[in-house]
């Protein structure tokens, strides 16, 4: 594997059982991503964006074909091994934020570090760094319910970034945000991408997101209909 290629997908097919037949959500996808990309899968609803991200996030398995993610073939991984790779190397950002409501902002961001069994000192420092990246140092003790949608998503970004993962997967991260907040979080992510060389992969049909992407992969009905890289 080419070292800089952190994701390599070839001949990927994903089918879902539908009654007696199978519904093919992804047809023969071939894609590669290199370290540090700021890219997105775009396309209409139902085109297979989430399905592709789930496979790359090792949350779902290919029906056939290969998906090499961070040096591991998705087909060869046990559920537990996949969890370990997510734990160490991946961050997720969801459309609905998915913060733990009973935890404070600090604790939500600290959570992935607890899974990595980091020491208290290291955790405190990493969480404070992450809070600074997203500009929420004054909300450490707040609970998610006390935050606006934009602030929640910034907490989610900090949670995804705090362990400095190799790859961040963001499925419709702006769908529940207004324009101002959307731009704000995208700028935050773009900055982190530049500073930390983290690879960002979005799934979106939001124009506001698309304009930030340096590479746009267009899915249409489960096939790659376009792959355009713009230099910025």
């Amino acid at each position: 594997m080419d070292n800089s290629k952190i994701i390599n997908i070839s001949g990927l097919v994903k089918q879902f059982p539908m009654g007696n037949n199978n519904f093919t959500a992804l047809h023969n996808i071939n894609l590669a991503f290199i370290k540090g990309e700021f890219c997105g899968v775009v396309g209409p609803s139902g085109s297979g964006k989430t399905t592709l991200l789930n496979i790359i996030g090792l949350l779902d398995n290919p029906t056939s074909g290969n998906a090499d993610v961070l040096g591991h073939n998705a087909n060869d991984l046990s559920v537990k091994e996949a969890a370990m790779i997510r734990r160490k190397h991946m961050g997720f950002i969801f459309q609905t934020f998915n913060l733990l409501p009973v935890y404070t902002v600090f604790e939500n961001i600290e959570f992935p570090l607890l899974l990595l069994k980091m020491s208290k000192n290291e955790r405190d420092k990493a969480v404070m760094d992450a809070l600074e990246w997203v500009g929420l140092t004054d909300k450490v003790k707040s609970k998610p319910a006390q935050l606006s949608g934009g602030e929640c998503q910034r907490v989610a970004i900090a949670r995804a970034m705090v362990k400095r993962p190799d790859l961040v997967l963001a499925d419709e991260p702006t769908a529940n945000l207004d324009a101002e907040h959307s731009h704000n979080i995208l700028q935050t992510m773009e900055k982190l991408n530049r500073e930390l060389q983290t690879t960002f992969l979005f799934a979106t049909h939001d124009e506001k997101v698309i304009q930030y992407l340096r590479r746009k992969i267009t899915l249409d009905d489960g096939t790659v209909a376009g792959d355009i890289t713009t230099s910025k």
């Binding site: 789930n54 779902d60 790779i85 997510r86 998915n98 733990l100 009973v102 935890y103 959570f111």
Partner: protein, 390 residues
């Protein structure tokens, strides 16, 4: 560690629902301690009183003697072996002669058991020294239950009629030299105690006895031909088995409470796993293994029992401590009940009882928390993240 912190936050956040389960479980906890503590207290008191009043450190029985069959009394007497006699053995052995007789208090006939005992004995609590007073009639002592039943008071005189060893009837006047109060009905109900020497003369059974009470200090009683040794355990078996029966009977009360508490926890678990799919999916996306997620929910459910124990301690310890000081007043007296029972029973809570109860609650709660949580490992994480599982 993560699981415990999360569990506490989630439980406290869930409010009323949590407290309902916790309250029921804490009632169960204290109820078990109370019921078993009461029975244990009764057990201890009864065993203690029976040893003090009746059985000492065990008894040698004439091989024919059967306390449940008065007709055996005619044949169950024989010479007391010299081992049990004499001044030197006084503190260790106390022979008792038992026979049937009739008394006529207020002119009414009443069958009784008469028992002869050494007035100088100190093995049993029976106030036998009262038999040494100077009386014209034959002095006897009786218990309060017997006194109540026969309406005899101290100093009262009545007629005693008996058959001697040859079956010949004879009669004499007896006087109540003292009335003693005991929790042990088997030394009280329908019986009179007199000096063993006097009784041996009355029934012409010189130097004979029916049973011999031994001192608790005698640790290794010898076998004696013609006599069967009964240790304290076998002499206490009736009370022990009665209390065991009571224990089983009364456990139904708390089993109902326990079942209610567990059902509430189970229900909470099923609901929270359904409602918190998104959270479950998020844990998986963050890299938790399914086992860890199942663990989080199991710990959360099991935490109900920990809170229940803490809450139980909060209201239960003062209650239990107070009850162990004041005791339970018993509605029945021992003679009505037929087994040794004090008027007040002071519950006894051993550390063993507390630990077993605690474990019972924690383990059963953990199991009912775990069972629904297993569903998590079958969840599809991609659907869970979106909260789509029905």
């Amino acid at each position: 560690m993560i699981a415990i912190k999360l569990a506490i936050r989630n439980l406290l956040g869930a409010g009323l629902r949590t407290w309902l389960s916790v309250i029921v479980l804490s009632i169960t906890f204290i109820l078990i301690l109370l019921i078993h503590g009461f029975l244990e207290g009764w057990n201890r008191q009864a065993m203690h009183d029976m040893k003090e009043w009746e059985i000492g450190g065990g008894q040698y029985w004439h091989t024919e003697y059967d306390p449940h069959d008065p007709f055996t009394l005619e044949d169950s007497h024989r010479d007391i072996p010299s081992l049990f006699m004499g001044q030197a053995n006084k503190g260790n052995y106390c022979p008792v002669l038992i026979s049937q007789a009739t008394i006529y208090p207020q002119g009414r006939m009443r069958s009784i058991i008469m028992k002869g005992i050494d007035p100088d004995q100190e093995l049993l609590e029976l106030p036998t020294s009262l038999l040494k007073g100077d009386f014209e009639e034959i002095p006897v002592i009786i218990g309060t239950a017997m006194a109540r039943a026969t309406k005899l008071a101290k100093g009262d005189i009545t007629t005693l009629r008996w058959r001697d060893v040859n079956g010949t009837f004879d009669a004499a006047e007896i006087v109540v030299a003292g009335i003693f109060k005991t929790n042990v009905p088997t030394v009280d109900a329908s019986q009179i105690w007199m000096s063993i020497v006097t009784m041996q003369e009355l029934v012409s059974m010189n130097n004979e006895g029916t049973l011999i009470v031994i001192s608790p200090e005698i640790t290794n009683p010898h076998p004696v031909p013609g006599w069967e040794f009964k240790d304290t355990d076998s002499l206490l078996s009736a009370i022990i088995s009665t209390i065991k029966t009571k224990t089983i009977g009364s456990s139904f009360i708390y089993i109902v409470f326990l079942a209610l508490g567990l059902l509430a926890v189970f229900d909470t678990q099923v609901l929270s796993i359904f409602r918190r799919q998104k959270e479950i999916g998020t844990y998986v996306a963050l890299g938790m293994t399914r086992k860890q997620v199942v663990g989080i929910f199991t710990v959360e459910g099991a935490m109900h029992s920990i809170l229940a124990v803490l809450l139980g301690a909060l209201w239960g310890i003062p209650l239990l401590a107070w009850l162990s000081k004041t005791g339970f007043g018993m509605p029945l007296s021992a003679d009505e009940f037929g087994l040794a029972m004090a008027e007040r029973i002071y519950p006894a809570y051993g550390i063993g009882l507390i630990m077993i109860t605690l474990l019972l609650i924690v383990i059963t709660t953990t199991i009912v928390s775990y069972l629904p949580s297993r569903r998590i490992s079958k969840m599809n994480p991609t659907e869970a993240i979106r909260g789509k599982i029905q």
